[in-house]
C-alpha cells in the first residue's frame, strides 16, 4: 500500500509543531524543553564540575555524561523506571552526538552532566532529547562550536518522511509486512556534519542519501528555532 497521505496530514518534509524553551529548571546550570508535537523532552545540564570517580578523569579534556530516561507514564504500556538496555544505548549515542559541539578541551578532569527526561512519547524521543540537551548546553553558557539539531527521517510504505510518529514507525503493508525504516540523525548544522546516525529497516543506498539530505534540511530549520529561542532568552542581557 503506497503511503500517500500522512496519518496526521503533514507534508512529507514537514516536522511536527516545534516548541522550544530554555531555563525551565531553575536549579540547573542550563536547561531546556523541546517538543516535536506530542513528543516532549526536558534536559538539564550541571557542570562543568570535577569528575568522580577520579580514574575516569581525563587530564586533557572534559567529558559529557548523559543520562536519558523516559518517565514510566510517558508511553502507553508502563515503562519500568530506571535504565534498561535501550536507555543506556540512547544515553551513549546522545553523548557522542553532543560531544563534537562542545569545546571540551577547556575543562580537563571535569564532567558536564546532561540529564534528559521524556515526559510524553510519540516516537522521536532521542532526537527531541538531543535538541533539548543542545539548547541546555548553550543555555548553561558552555563554549560551543555549534549547536546540535536532530530529527528522524524514514521510509514509510515506500515514501520518504521526516519526523516520524509512532503509527508511521509501526507502519505495515496490507499483507501485514512491516514497511518502515527509521533513521534518527543529528547534525552540527553550521558545519554540515553528522554526529548521530542510526538506522533500522530496509532502504536502498540512493534512498538513504536522499533521506539524509531531507534530514539536513529539517535540521537547518530546527537550528533556526533553537537560535531564536536562545536569543529570546538572553534578550535582556544586551
Amino acid at each position: 500500500m503506497p503511503y500517500t497521505k500522512r496519518f496526521d496530514g503533514r507534508k512529507f518534509d514537514e516536522t511536527r509543531k516545534i516548541e522550544a524553551k530554555v531555563g525551565v529548571i531553575e536549579k540547573a546550570d542550563g536547561s531546556a524543553y523541546f517538543a516535536f508535537g506530542d513528543t516532549k523532552a526536558i534536559a538539564a545540564v550541571y557542570g562543568p564540575r570535577t569528575l568522580f570517580p577520579q580514574h575516569l578523569q581525563n587530564p586533557v579534556k572534559g567529558r559529557i555524561r548523559c543520562n536519558y530516561d523516559m518517565m514510566s507514564f510517558s508511553v502507553s504500556e508502563r515503562k519500568r523506571p530506571g535504565p534498561g538496555r535501550r536507555g543506556q544505548e540512547i544515553s551513549h549515542v546522545t553523548e557522542k552526538a553532543l560531544e563534537p559541539a562542545v569545546k571540551l578541551d577547556n575543562f580537563p578532569n571535569c564532567v558536564i552532566e546532561v540529564y534528559i527526561l521524556i515526559l510524553q512519547a510519540n516516537a522521536g524521543t532521542r532526537t527531541a532529547g538531543i535538541n533539548a540537551a543542545s539548547l541546555a548546553l548553550a543555555h548553561a553558557g558552555l563554549p560551543m562550536i555549534d549547536l546540535v539539531s536532530s530529527v528522524s527521517v524514514g521510509k514509510i510504505g515506500g515514501k520518504l518522511c521526516v519526523d516520524l510518529i509512532k503509527e508511521e514507525e509501526d507502519f505495515k503493508e496490507k499483507n501485514g509486512e512491516k514497511s518502515a525504516t527509521d533513521i534518527p540523525v543529528a547534525f552540527l548544522p553550521r558545519l554540515g556534519k553528522v554526529s548521530l546516525l542510526q538506522l533500522d529497516g530496509k532502504i536502498s543506498s540512493k534512498e538513504l542519501s536522499e533521506a539524509l539530505e531531507m534530514a539536513q534540511e529539517s535540521c537547518n530549520k530546527i537550528y533556526e528555532v533553537q537560535k531564536r529561542t536562545l536569543k529570546e532568552a538572553f534578550k535582556e542581557w544586551k
Binding site: N58, R85, E89, H92, E99, D200
Partner: protein
C-alpha cells in the same frame, strides 16, 4: 581514545594519513577471515570466526517462552555480548558495560531488521509457546573489529542451528531434530568502517581501533538493501563520507559472501 590516554595515537594517525598501516595492508583491505562451524555440540548452533588475530565464539540456544502480547504467533530473539576479561587487558569482569550493550544491540538490529529469521515459523502454540532464540557472543581475543567478527559469527551460528525436540510441551535438550532454524536466503553482513584522522579504514587492528575517532556500522543484504546503521565515537561524518562508507560496505559484503560462499 584520547591522545593523553593513548600515546601511540598521533603516530598511527600520521601513518594512516600517509596510506600506511601497521601490518602494511591497504586502508580498505580486510584481514583474512577464518570460520569454523559447530564449536559446541551442546548448543543448537554455534560458530567461531577469526579475523586476523581477532576471535569470537557464538552459540545459539533455543528455549520455549510465552510470546509477547503484540505478536502472539511469532518467536523472539535476544542477543548478548560478553567481552570476556580473558580476551583483552582492557576488559574487566562484571555485568555487560555500555560497550558490550551497544555491540549486542548493533548485532541484534542487523539480524532483526533484515528479517533473516522467520519468526512466524517459530510459533509452537499461538499465544502460549514460541521459540526464543538466544544468540550469545563471547570474545576470545580482541585484536580490533570485534563488531564485524561478532555479527558474522552470529549469522554463521544461526545458519547451522537446529530446533530441539519437544516432549509434553517441554524441551528435550541434547536431542536435536534435523529441523533447521528457518532462515531466509539473504544473510545480512555487517561492516564497520572506522575514521582515523581524516581517512576511512576497514577492519582495524586494536591499535588502529584505539586511534579511531568515529565509526559507522552498516548491515546489508545484497543487492541494495541497508537494514541497520549505527554511528559510534565522538567525531562526525560528512554526508559525502557516509556515502563512501555505504559503498565500502557493499563491496565488503560481496567479497565476504563470495569468499565464504554464503
Amino acid at each position: 581514545m584520547d591522545h593523553a590516554l593513548y600515546p601511540n595515537k598521533n603516530r598511527i594517525i600520521s601513518a594512516i594519513e600517509r596510506g600506511k598501516r601497521l601490518d602494511e595492508r591497504g586502508l580498505l583491505k580486510g584481514r583474512k577471515i577464518e570460520v569454523e562451524d559447530v564449536v559446541s555440540k551442546k548448543a543448537e548452533g554455534s560458530a567461531r570466526v577469526r579475523i586476523g588475530a581477532t576471535e569470537v565464539v557464538v552459540g545459539v540456544k533455543l528455549d520455549l517462552q510465552t510470546p509477547y502480547t503484540d505478536s502472539p504467533d511469532e518467536g523472539t530473539m535476544m542477543v548478548s555480548v560478553e567481552l570476556t576479561p580473558l580476551s583483552s587487558p582492557d576488559f574487566e569482569p562484571g555485568p555487560p558495560d555500555i560497550k558490550a550493550i551497544e555491540m549486542a544491540r548493533i548485532v541484534d538490529r542487523g539480524i532483526r531488521e533484515s528479517e533473516v529469521i522467520d519468526f512466524k515459523q517459530l510459533c509452537v502454540e499461538k499465544g502460549e509457546k514460541v521459540w526464543c532464540v538466544f544468540i550469545d557472543i563471547y570474545s576470545i581475543n580482541d585484536d580490533g573489529n570485534l563488531l564485524d567478527a561478532s555479527a558474522l559469527a552470529a549469522i554463521l551460528a544461526l545458519r547451522n542451528a537446529v530446533i530441539p525436540k519437544i516432549e509434553e510441551k517441554k524441551v528435550v535438550y541434547g536431542e536435536l531434530t534435523s529441523k533447521k532454524l528457518p532462515l531466509r536466503k539473504d544473510l545480512p553482513i555487517s561492516t564497520t568502517v572506522y575514521k582515523i584522522g581524516k581517512e576511512l579504514v576497514l577492519d582495524p587492528s586494536i591499535e588502529e581501533e584505539k586511534a579511531a575517532d568515529a565509526r559507522l556500522s552498516v548491515a546489508i543484504t545484497l543487492p541494495d538493501n541497508i537494514h541497520a546503521m549505527q554511528k559510534g565515537g565522538p567525531a562526525t561524518f560528512t554526508l559525502e563520507e557516509i556515502g563512501k562508507v555505504v559503498g565500502i560496505a557493499f563491496e565488503r559484503t560481496k567479497e565476504i559472501k563470495k569468499d565464504l560462499k554464503i
